[in-house]
């Protein structure tokens, strides 16, 4: 594969529509393709969550048009429990894989990494194109499960075995739907592995002259470390997916133990281990949450520094903290399994590492605050979302400290406390990172500015909205409100909690509705926005030295040479309050 790519790299700008926009080798086009793939997925994912929230609090309500979408999943418009779980599975899978893994890393990373390191393109453009199209195929296969057999699987995005392994006898969607799910994930793994390989190689080998590792923008560091995590973890998920597929269609018994009786039917498997799946899955799954959040951290650092008009506080500490998160991220997967039947001694060891991983996260937070301290804050929309990121990351991160401790987790495991925790810290925080990135780099990507007024309205509703949705989940968790229930009417202690759920559902409706403001702003600005200059934010990294949008080969044959770090703002004695990375003139202080 590599041999094939050798030397086919240096490419001229294609002219045909297909080569230019569809099967493009240009990292900028591929980055936008990833971005729009994620945008489509997030719209579907939010729609699913709205339907779920609706059903949760008005379980007997007739949801308009839902019976048209799935006559068996919602007869008469009333959602069945199995359809709720199908939507839940699809929501989780879409969001985790096709949004959180895709947009911040493959979307922004593809568009910006080569420009920020002064390269013409990624190291392997053909692999890059392949990785997008494999990911696209994964999305198509996943969505196709809505239209075959009993619909999408109901085993959740974690697909715990044996529920996911024994076929349709275990529930609707566990036939064809679950098989399609596994294939989709396997495809996604392949796409991500190819992408990760490309990112790492590009960062290591294509940096321009003068751009030492410690002069990289923190975004590049984040993408690089994320790519390392992806390379090591997606291979394991792929292996797990192959084993699961063999259990499902090949009659093997990797994850299915002997003597199962499902719906009074004996299952002809023997000797497999359900915990093996959990170990393999979470060995991937925990690094995965850092894959989702690290690029957001990079974007936030970049945006905070730019609009504080200050160098990032503790650049090296930021880099080392990200490395530590990446490293420790591989040693904490067992904290998902405290009550799974895993050895309690092992569980405690995992908890120590998990608490330790809170340390680099705290370092990052302190450094962000340090960056704001003494700054000259320009509170535009991108900056607001970056500030929102810090707030949400703190809130969601701190609730992780409860779940990391086995005794405390005993009572909170599998409750809404967990749902609130990970939605805040890796869901909406990461999405706030994406919003910040979108407002920040939109001028570079599309050559026009986004509307600030609409952006701010969108920010305010979203920021308050997500707190109204996800903060109460922690309170529900205290009360023992179990997650993944399709209604709360059948367990006595859940019934008094329904009013709070109603509040959250209304907040979810409003917040989801506010996203139309963003979508409108995005597409309207693409065509009607104010034309962007080369460097509208007065930022310093290399992407702001090229036109907006950049030409096909980014630097038009020029070789930028880097003389300094990426966050040289408000340098005393400098003519302006920022100094470009490629500015050769000496600067008074350093």
């Amino acid at each position: 594969m590599e041999a094939h790519a050798v030397a086919t790299h240096a490419h001229a700008a294609p002219t045909g529509f297909i080569r230019k926009y569809i099967f493009s080798l240009d990292h900028k086009v591929i980055g936008k393709q990833y971005y729009f793939l994620a945008l489509f997925s997030v719209v579907v994912g939010i729609l699913l969550s709205v339907l779920m929230r609706w059903h949760l609090v008005w379980p007997d309500a007739r949801i308009p048009l839902l019976d048209k979408l799935s006559p068996t999943g919602a007869p008469g418009g009333i959602m069945t429990p199995e359809y709720y779980l199908s939507l839940l599975t699809m929501h989780g899978t879409l969001m985790v894989f096709f949004v959180l893994t895709t947009a911040p890393q493959s979307g922004f990373g593809n568009f910006l990494l080569p420009i920020q390191i002064g390269a013409e393109d990624m190291a392997f453009p053909r692999l890059n194109m392949l990785s997008f199209w494999v990911t696209f195929a994964g999305l198509v296969v996943l969505l196709s499960s809505f239209f075959v057999g009993d619909g999408p699987p109901l085993s959740g995005w974690t697909a715990y075995t044996p529920l996911s392994a024994v076929g349709s006898v275990a529930g609707p969607g566990e036939g064809t739907g679950q098989t399609l799910w596994v294939i989709s994930i396997a495809l996604f793994c392949v796409g991500s592995l190819l992408g990760a390989l490309n990112f790492i190689t590009t960062t290591l080998d294509l940096r321009t002259r003068g751009l030492t590792l410690m002069r990289l923008p923190l975004t590049c560091w984040a993408w690089f470390i994320t790519a390392v995590l992806a390379l090591l973890s997606f291979a394991v998920l792929f292996a797990a997916g192959v084993l699961l597929l063999l259990d499902r269609v090949g009659g093997t018994s990797f994850f299915v133990p002997a003597g199962l009786v499902v719906s009074d039917q004996r299952i002809a498997h023997s000797g497999g281990s359900p915990l093996l799946w959990q170990h393999l899955f979470w060995f991937f799954g925990h690094p995965e949450v850092y894959i989702a959040i690290l690029p957001g951290m990079g974007i936030t650092s970049h945006v905070l520094s730019t609009f504080s008009r200050k160098p990032i506080f503790g650049y090296r500490a930021m880099v080392y903290a990200m490395m530590a998160i990446g490293f420790l991220g591989f040693m904490v997967w067992g904290h998902h399994m405290f009550v799974s039947g895993m050895s309690p001694y092992v569980g405690f060891a995992f908890s120590v590492f998990t608490m330790a991983i809170g340390v680099p996260s705290a370092i990052k937070t302190f450094n962000w605050l340090g960056t704001l301290w003494g700054g000259k804050l320009r509170l535009n929309t991108a900056m607001l979302f970056a500030i929102g990121f810090v707030s949400l990351f703190v809130s969601g991160g701190l609730s992780g400290l409860f779940l990391a401790q086995p005794p405390v987790d005993t009572n909170l495991h599998a409750t809404y406390f967990v749902v609130g925790h990970f939605h805040l810290v890796m869901g909406v925080a990461a999405i706030f990172g994406m919003f910040a990135g979108t407002f920040f780099w939109f001028p570079k990507m599309f050559g026009r500015m986004m509307n600030e007024t609409l952006g701010k309205i969108h920010f305010w509703i979203t920021f308050v909205g997500v707190y109204c949705i996800f903060m109460p989940m922690h309170f529900l968790g205290l009360e023992g409100n179990i997650r993944r229930y399709s209604r709360f009417t059948d367990v006595n202690f859940l019934v008094p909690l329904i009013p709070l759920h109603k509040f959250m559902t209304i907040a979810a409706f409003v917040t989801a509705g506010a996203q139309f403001i963003f979508l409108f702003n995005l597409f309207w600005s693409m065509f009607k926005g104010e034309k962007a200059t080369e460097n509208p934010w007065e930022a310093t990294s290399l992407e702001w030295t090229v036109p907006s949008p950049p030409p096909f080969d980014n630097f038009a044959g020029r070789h930028p040479v880097v003389y300094r770090g990426p966050y040289e703002f408000s340098v005393p004695g400098a003519p302006k309050d920022y100094v470009m990375q490629d500015a050769p003139e000496p600067v008074a202080a350093h």
Binding site: P81, S155, Y160, P162, L163, V166, A170, P172, P257, G259, V261, D264, G272, P274, S308, R309, K310, P311, G314, Y315, A317, G341, F348, V352, T365, N367, L369, G370, L372, W373, G374, K376, L377, L379, L384, I387, V394, S395, L398, L401, Q405, P406, P407, T410, N411, H413, A414, K456, F475, L478, E479, G480, I482, D490, V491, F493, L497, S570, P572, D577
Partner: protein, 273 residues
Amino acid sequence: MALAIALVIAVITVISVYVFWAHVWWLPVDVSTHGASIDHQFMMTLIMTGIVFVLAQLGLAYFVWKYRDRGDRRPAKYSHGNNALEITWTTAAFIVFVGLNLLGYRSWASMRFTPAAADALRVEVWGEQFQFYFRYPGPDGQFGPTHVNLMNDATGNALGLDRDNDPASKDDIVTATLAIPVNREVELILHSKDVGHSFYVRELRVHQDLVPGMAIPIHFTASEDALNYNGGRYEIVCTQLCGLGHYKMRAFLQVMTQEDFDKWLKQQAEEQQ
């Protein structure tokens, strides 16, 4: 704008803290002997994270307001950081986080590192889509073997007991309600017939997955308090996604005095002979 964001963050912080402080929603009552240590560890964590939460959020709010661009000529502070500060807060965070975790060691160890006492009441818990069954060993103290070819819910033999041929099964009592005596250690042995389930009684602070192919023991003691709430009746719920009926996979736990328990068990035994 700066004031607005500062205020919003501050208001969110205050409301969040208030809800925790005022126990608007709170942990359910604890009716186990080990629950106090869990709740204590929870409180320690809550206090620590609460302090960090308030400081970080209010700090963020304050900085955003204080350091907004006021349009004056004040330049931003040109600083790349402070190594002493980095080392300080790294060390502090490490000590607080890991130290907090170590404080919880004894709570976890007392629950999980030691087996149940020899005289504990042993009960098997069986999960299936979507029902819990409980099996008491009867006077012989032995659980008879289960036969997968005999498992049939419709004949009332969900666990596949062969009462005619297995002497140990003869006196086994299978119920759909878990009754336990108060103040006596109970050891549950968790099994699953089909997919993963979980056994969770929030008032008992007991939570453990049922994993097919494994027999997982847990043990606890219901405290005297257990009789005082809701007639000693608590809900056992499944917390591991197990299929379409997950949301109503539930059973009841009835805590009784030892005499009531003996009576109840005898009555169940008579019904099943």
